[in-house]
């Protein structure tokens, strides 16, 4: 499996890009000990106009490179934690629906369908606006709009694994239903969940950046979306202020998508190359 993943060019590029972003996020406090908020020079300095400020300064004279580095922390953190929370909602719900069937399934799926019908970005906006933008509310809002596909996936996987012979064997051996679900069925659904999770982190990063672009970011956290939103009105004169954070988002999201697809191909070799885009 790892051999297949490693031989996938796209996936390795993704891993390299993601590692670069993680390194920048981790060493941000060492590179820029003064933090992302401090004014370092006069505002609107173009990239390379002054030594030590390779990406210039923003509308308030803050160091764009420092803002980018600290923004990486927020993007990765929100992307990762909101995906974990979404898994915590979606996996149990989907597992129960798929394993027990009947009314449990009916109820769980109606609930999931309802959340899938609601335009998810609009719901995220409403949730963050009402509960005030903080890292917690943003993370929870993104999790609330992202769990339905997980529930559907886990349900479908559990339903197919449930009918396999080793599950019958476990039942004959006298294992309780919960034990069968947790010990026998769920471990067999892990690989598609991992693939979906890596793609969800990418989507979550896009969602977080979109929210903070609209002014719904945590006011105490520097984020890429906020940078673009703040520079929006000066795009005619200072294009670089919107340009670089956007590139940072594209690189991070692209890296995660490449990794997700690489994992998918590695887990499903018979589908890879030909079947998947």
């Amino acid at each position: 499996m790892w051999k297949r993943f490693r031989s996938n060019m796209g996936a390795m590029v993704g891993v390299a890009l993601l590692i670069a972003v993680i390194v920048v996020a981790v060493i941000a406090p060492m590179l820029f000990p003064q933090g992302p908020w401090q004014m370092v020079q006069r505002p609107f300095l173009a990239p390379f106009a002054v030594d030590g400020l390779p990406l210039g300064t923003d509308t308030l004279g803050r160091n764009v490179a420092a803002q980018l580095a600290y923004g990486a922390q927020v993007s990765l953190l929100v992307g990762l934690v909101s995906t974990l929370v979404a898994l915590l909602i979606g996996v149990p719900l989907g597992a129960l629906a798929g394993f027990y069937g009947g009314y449990v399934d009916e109820g769980a799926m109606r609930f999931t369908e309802f959340f899938q019908t609601i335009p998810n970005f609009a719901l995220a906006i409403v949730l963050v606006a009402i509960f005030e933008p903080t890292l917690t509310s943003i993370t929870v809002a993104i999790a609330i709009v992202s769990w339905p596909p997980v529930a559907r996936l886990v349900r479908a996987e559990v339903m197919s694994v449930r009918t396999r012979e080793f599950v019958d064997a476990a039942r004959l051996a006298g294992l309780s239903k919960q034990r069968i679900l947790i010990r026998q069925v769920l471990p067999n659904t892990v690989s598609p969940i991992i693939v979906m999770a890596s793609l969800m982190v990418a989507t979550a990063i896009l969602l977080e950046s979109s929210l903070s672009f609209l002014g719904l970011g945590d006011p105490n956290a520097m984020s890429w979306g906020y940078m673009i939103g703040a520079a929006r009105t000066v795009i005619r004169t200072s294009w670089w202020l919107s340009f670089f954070p956007g590139i940072a988002i594209v690189i991070t999201v692209l890296a995660l998508n490449l990794i997700g697809e690489g994992l998918n191909d590695a887990f499903n070799p018979h589908l890879s190359r030909k079947g998947k885009a």
Partner: protein
């Protein structure tokens, strides 16, 4: 089921969903930190003491929760979405004013991205493994990773600021007072950038789906039969694979419509497009919750409508669906 029965069952389900969203909205207002009356009046000091008192009375905020809920839902059923104190007008009126612009933008973006997505997806699948396939899939991967609003900003920068080819702002030329055909052309020129940038992300999504679907269908047995019959590759692709591959793409595209409506908030914000998404953005800064929740409800209604329409189109195109269920 006949088409008519399908429409009735889908509409009744849609009404239930909208009621559920109305109830969700009600509880969100009550979950917001602070006094619901103040929440409804909006922040930024828009409401005075007397107004808040009136609101309390009108919504019966001194009564039990279920009475309040009944009043709120009854209001929404009568298309009363509350009053925007910031804009000084009923929310339903504000939304009705802005809805045509959003419908024009999202429908154009939907059609453009679906057509482009299928065309690119089908041509990529036809040349699978060749350089042109790699170029198309790489581009799709890139646009799939690009934030909508950033792409929109960059489009404004390049095509409006630097090249000056297209207007990057608004719905029509302000003060020009064009009429008739000139006005239509004017609006169209304003529509191109927002519709394309909103559509490009979804073009990438639909292209990936169309490509995967084409490749999947091309491995089925009836394609082998067609090949054995001696049909040419082009005919097999057009007559046999395409027809079977496109339907799931259309259905999935209908399901994705929700994201398109949500994306309109971002696109309209960048292009100052006077739709409900822009209205929502303007209401965010003032925490004008009545308007925010109203737009939320209406955009959910739009998504449901999109889904019903694609479902019906699907059934007309492929009669087997009706026979099966």
């Amino acid at each position: 089921m006949t088409i008519f029965a399908v429409i009735v069952s889908r509409l009744s389900k849609a009404i239930l969903t909208l009621l559920a969203i109305a109830i969700l909205n009600f509880f969100l207002i009550h979950a917001a930190p602070g006094d619901p009356a103040v929440v409804l009046a909006g922040e930024a000091g828009a409401a005075d003491e007397q107004m808040i008192e009136q609101l309390r009375e009108r919504f019966g905020l001194d009564q039990p929760l279920y009475v309040q809920l009944g009043k709120y839902v009854a209001g929404i059923v009568q298309l009363d979405l509350g009053y925007s104190f910031r804009q000084g007008a009923p929310v339903a009126e504000l939304i009705a004013d802005r809805l045509p612009a959003t419908l024009l933008l999202t429908l154009t973006a939907f059609v453009v991205s679906l057509v482009m997505g299928i065309v690119f997806g089908v041509s990529a699948a036809a040349r699978v493994g060749k350089p042109s396939d790699s170029v198309l899939t790489t581009l799709a991967l890139l646009f799939y990773a690009t934030p909508l609003y950033w792409l929109a900003l960059m489009a404004v920068l390049v095509f409006s600021v630097w090249l000056g080819w297209l207007p990057g702002f608004g719905y029509e030329t302000v003060g020009a007072n064009y009429t008739g055909f000139t006005r239509v052309l004017d609006i169209l020129s304003h529509l191109i950038l927002p519709a394309l940038t909103l559509g490009l992300f979804f073009t990438a999504v639909y292209m990936r789906m169309a490509r995967a679907s084409m490749l999947e269908v091309s491995q089925l047995d009836f394609v082998k039969t067609a090949k054995a019959k001696g049909l040419s590759d082009a005919v097999i692709r057009r007559r046999h694979i395409l027809r079977n591959a496109i339907l799931p793409v259309v259905t999935l595209a209908g399901l994705q419509a929700g994201q398109l409506v949500g994306g309109a908030v971002l696109t309209e914000t960048v292009f100052a497009w006077p739709g409900i998404g822009r209205l929502m953005f303007e209401s965010l800064a003032a925490r004008d919750y009545n308007t925010i929740l109203g737009v939320f409800l209406v955009s959910a209604a739009m998504v449901i409508l999109f889904n019903i329409v694609t479902d019906i189109v699907y059934r007309i195109v492929d009669p087997r669906i009706g026979a099966r269920s």
